[in-house]
């Protein structure tokens, strides 16, 4: 049985992914998500990750992972190589966002994107009441040591999808332990979208 301590976003992604799919996880970290998808969805998973220590973690789990930058590492894949390309909690650290989405759509049938919502109530109140850059569970870094270079909200991302003609197949808004039903741009700590070409 799926264990209780599986992260909510991982649980949702595992629900979205079809059994036996070919998956590319961009910014796969220590491989927890890939491991889940490989074991429970029989997915054939491949990861790309910049951090060397995380590479050893992935290999230890028996996963295939490429040490490198996702901004540079997508061009060689043939068209439609994967069923799903996952960008979970990595898009906020990407500079060439447009290019990564363009490549991800070329090589994958769908894109699964998860990111912290910068317009969440907690972040807003830190800005409004304290006048400081938000530091929340989803945005845990101080301004001077954050790896994040993009700060986006649910509304920002929906607008991005319209501008780039991305079809939203599914949207999930995450509170702490369960999904949020109302006012996602205010109440969701993280958002998760499943996208496809128009």
């Amino acid at each position: 049985m799926p264990s209780e301590d599986v992260r909510l976003d991982h649980r949702i992604i595992a629900g979205v992914v079809e059994a036996g799919s070919k998956i590319l996880d961009l910014g796969c970290g220590n491989g927890d998500l890939m491991y889940l998808l490989a074991r429970e969805k029989s997915a054939r998973v491949q990861g790309i990750e910049l951090d060397e220590a995380a590479i050893y973690e992935c290999v230890k789990k028996g996963l295939s992972v490429i040490h490198g930058d996702i901004e540079e590492g997508l061009r060689e894949y043939p068209d439609a190589s994967f069923d799903d390309v996952i960008l979970n909690q990595s898009i906020q650290q990407v500079r060439k966002v447009d290019e990564v989405f363009e490549q991800a759509l070329r090589i994958g049938r769908r894109i699964i994107v998860g990111f912290p919502n910068f317009a969440h109530l907690g972040a807003r109140s830190m800005l409004f009441f304290r006048g400081t850059s938000p530091m929340t569970k989803s945005l845990p870094y101080r301004w001077n040591d954050t790896p994040n270079v993009r700060f986006l909200s649910v509304t920002d991302f929906k607008r991005f999808c319209v501008e780039h003609a991305l079809r939203i197949l599914e949207s999930h808004y995450l509170g702490g332990t369960k999904e949020v039903r109302f006012w996602p741009n205010l109440l969701a700590k993280d958002a998760l979208f499943v996208l496809a070409k128009p």
Binding site: K41, E52, V59, K60, G68, P78
Partner: protein, 383 residues
């Protein structure tokens, strides 16, 4: 249970002779070679269904003695830290074979071997050997050992080229390939270094157009060639750490002696090499490196190689075979949608790192082999 990192113990080099009769080995150059002798060692045991064999391939000047020690000697093999019970290539689990190369001088047929037609050593009569020819000879060995499919082929530097050649030439006979600190092809810079190496040997008058076997090695030329090699095996940083500008005798001699420790190190390495490696073999083996080229789609053809798993390893400070060349291998594998893992280890040892970074390589290789051997146990239920 064996202890972690237990040594292999006493080993013996073995020899296979083949292609002696009417069917000599056909070489890429169009020439033939026979009979052919190939030196190899084995560690561990072949399992019943012959599915646990790993072929280890060595770099430029090494030999079949990869692990353990010979009777009466305490010198371990060149990759002893990686091969043995509980090590990266665990001999409690796998049957490890290390094969020498033809063209060399470490027990396999090469330019210093006796040419049966003339009764003298081949010298430059020896045909030019390619990495493909080396692998073809190794294929005879694997056939002889009764192994249809190798679990893994692995090597660093020139050994990595042989491993890639196995994938390119015999894709159905390997399940996994681990090319380390290597390339799809030598760059002009690498060819240039090799050319200086060869010119250094050939410029020594005692080389005598390769016919020096009655007189002794062209020592100066070969030693200088090896000195150049050692510079390329280290990194700027590792040389700084190892030697800095330390002086051998505390003061400048104001002569052309070896003042600096780095100078005496290179001289020592050069002089030592002359005792253990044949000058003509150095010419032949460096030529094989330069001719190797599996770029432009030649690594992965359309014959089932997409099933091979790859673990590509490079080292950050390696400027002889820099990480970009390993990334070229990875790109080639991505184009063919192959299963590939790649790691650039943040080592400061330069090209020599594949012999020295034991812990990091072990952390990659052990689980990679385990996954290749056992595969996943995928849960039957959906989430």
């Amino acid at each position: 249970m064996t202890k972690k990192g237990h040594p292999v113990g006493v080993v013996e080099t073995q020899y296979l002779t083949f292609a002696g009769g009417a069917e000599p080995l056909r070489l890429e150059s169009g020439k033939t070679l026979g009979p052919v002798r190939l030196a190899y060692e084995t560690y561990g045991h072949l399992n019943e269904d012959r599915s646990n064999a790993i072929l280890v391939l060595h770099a430029l000047s090494a030999d079949a003695h990869a692990a353990g020690h010979f009777k009466g000697s305490r010198d371990p093999g060149w990759w002893d830290a990686m091969i043995g019970p509980g090590k990266a290539f665990d001999t409690d689990l796998y049957f490890v074979i290390c094969s020498n190369v033809i063209g060399g001088c470490k027990g396999s047929t090469g330019p210093s071997s006796l040419n049966l037609k003339t009764g003298k050593p081949y010298g430059l009569e020896f045909p030019i050997i390619t990495i493909g020819d080396m692998v073809e000879a190794q294929r005879h060995l694997i056939d002889f050992l009764g192994i249809d499919q190798l679990l893994c082929v692995v090597g660093g530097s020139m050994g990595g080229m042989q491993a890639l050649q196995w994938a390119a030439g015999c894709p159905k006979r390997v399940r996994a390939v681990i090319p380390i600190a290597t390339a799809l092809k030598n760059s002009p810079q690498q060819i240039a270094f090799n050319e200086v190496v060869r010119q250094s040997i050939m410029a020594d008058p005692t080389w005598r157009e390769g016919n020096y076997y009655d007189y002794g090695q062209p020592e100066r030329g070969l030693a200088i060639a090896r000195m150049l090699g050692h510079i390329t095996f280290m990194s700027d940083q590792s040389m700084e750490e190892k030697f800095s500008r330390r002086l051998k005798n505390g003061n400048y001699s104001f002569k052309f002696g070896a003042d600096f420790e780095v100078e005496s190190y290179l001289r020592y390495r050069g002089d030592n090499f002359v005792k253990r490696f044949d000058a003509n073999s150095y010419l032949y083996v460096t030529k094989a490196l330069d001719y190797f080229d599996v770029s432009n789609g030649r690594l992965i053809g359309a014959n089932g190689c997409e099933k091979i798993r790859f673990l590509v390893i490079s080292f950050k400070s390696d400027w002889l075979y820099p990480p970009y060349q390993s990334q070229e291998i990875v790109k080639e594998l991505k184009r063919k949608a192959c299963d590939v893992t790649y790691c650039e280890i943040a080592s400061t040892y330069g090209h020599d790192a594949f012999l020295l970074e034991v812990k990091e390589q072990t952390n990659l290789i052990r689980p990679f082999l385990d996954k290749t051997f056992h595969g996943y146990e995928v849960a039957e239920y959906a989430i």
